[in-house]
Amino acid sequence: MFSIVRLIVSDIVKNKIVIVYTLLLAILSWSAFMLEDNQNKGILTLLNIILLTIPLVSILFTAIYIYNSNEFIELLVSQPLRRNKIWISLFWGISGSLLFAFLLSTGIPLILFADLKLGLIMLGVGCMITLICVAIAFVSTTFTRDKAKGIGIVIVLWLYFALLFDSLILFILFEFADYPIEKPMLFMVALNPLDIGRILILLHLDVSAMMGYTGAIFREVLGSITGILIAFILLILWTVVPFWISLIKFNHKDL
């Protein structure tokens, strides 16, 4: 398995897209801290990178890479290899490269410039979001053989998680403003990994504001150590479940 992971990683590195991605992230995050006069703004830039750029790049790159690796996968499947192993190696190869790119480019400035606890939370969330987006791309590609269609699907999914879902939440919040909906809303938020990650970071970044009325509930639920654990477990589920579905589908796929 390791040799396949290594092969994929070296292929991805030769691919140059990941190198460009690393450089882009590095430029964005270093300049966020160096150019802005206050550290808070740098953190906000990084928050946007984690919530927008990383999901988009991860989900798109993964989908495209899987479609382009069709031949490779076919070749491997005809060899004495377990299909599970091929698929899992592919997952670790891709997500490993993306994680490495993220940690190398964003991790260093984050650790250097941000408050340690906040920095660690942001790194954790960034890594989880990378994994989740890779997993979601994996499951999307098993649903269609058509590359164009597949890429369309992942872009729509990204839009949904980054934008549409929140609009829906906002709509519900105002539509049902007269009802006690804070707790149900918390469960709803669990349906969007980007929101889980965002609120986890918010609880450390905007402590003061989050301590307000609704914030108090978030803090009760998500601010404690158990809350952080639950949130990360949810994020892990968001990785494992989509990938597991894709694995089952791949095991029954005809090549």
Binding site: I4, D11, E74, L75, V77, S78, R83, N251, D254, L255
Partner: protein, 236 residues
């Protein structure tokens, strides 16, 4: 050696295999023939585990291949169109497969006669179709497997390479291996095959040893014999 029982496979509206049961023994060279889209490739891919049948069982050396993958150690496969990672060099591809197969003894006869070893650094996407076929052939024979599955092996090869490959196939057959070949060009198969399987629309039309076929039709050449049989059956 390989036994298929009631294999069915449907791709959307197309029923690719209909309740196919067939049996291949070692020390034979089987030609799978039939018109386009008759299910030859699907059958081969089912044996390789690349296509997963909707129903039925496949046994390799009396063991079901379901949830097994190690049996592929003993199969060399040469696909119809060899598709490889475009950015990899030939050397890398060979190295990778060698890594996966974990064998230490190689049959590198084809590697040398096709002179593939002299273009290790060439990237896959720079290769011509013929050269790719040569790489596929090299890979299929490299690990000296008990079973060789060759999907249109000579298509795209120049006559010289084609001859080299045929000689190699004959050589391997003599070692007592099972060789499965699909081909359109029946004339190519004359001096190779011992059994003929004719497939039509997902069914096995017939499965005869070559001698039986020759006796029945009183034709020396396989292509003619088959043509005759098909004609006879049409008129019946």
């Amino acid at each position: 050696m390989i036994r298929l029982e009631n294999i069915s496979k449907r791709f959307g509206k197309l029923q690719a295999l209909k309740q196919v049961s067939i049996h291949f023994e070692s020390n034979s060279c089987v030609a799978l023939i039939g018109p386009n889209a008759c299910g030859k490739t699907t059958l081969i891919k089912s044996i390789l585990g690349m296509v997963i049948p909707d129903s039925g069982y496949i046994y390799f050396k009396e063991k079901s291949i379901k949830n097994d993958f190690l049996y592929r150690q003993e199969i060399g496969y040469m696909p119809q169109i060899g598709r490889y990672p475009e950015h990899m060099s030939i050397g890398k591809v060979l190295e990778m497969i060698q890594n996966i197969r974990k064998k230490t003894e190689y049959d590198d006869e084809l590697l040398r006669t096709f002179q593939i070893d002299k273009m290790y650094d060439k990237k896959m996407h720079t290769l011509s179709g013929g050269t790719r076929q040569k790489v596929s052939a090299v890979l299929a024979f490299l690990f000296n497997p008990d079973v060789l599955i060759l999907d249109e092996p000579t298509a795209g090869l120049d006559p010289l390479a084609s001859e080299i490959l045929k000689d190699k196939i004959i050589k391997e057959k003599k070692k007592g291996k099972l060789i499965l070949i699909t081909s359109h060009q029946l004339s190519e198969l004359d001096d190779l095959v011992t059994e003929i399987v004719l497939m039509q629309e997902g069914n096995v039309h017939f499965h005869y040893p070559v001698e039986t076929l020759q006796k029945q039709t009183k034709e020396e050449r396989i292509s003619k014999a088959i043509a005759k049989i098909l004609k006879q059956q049409q008129y019946v």
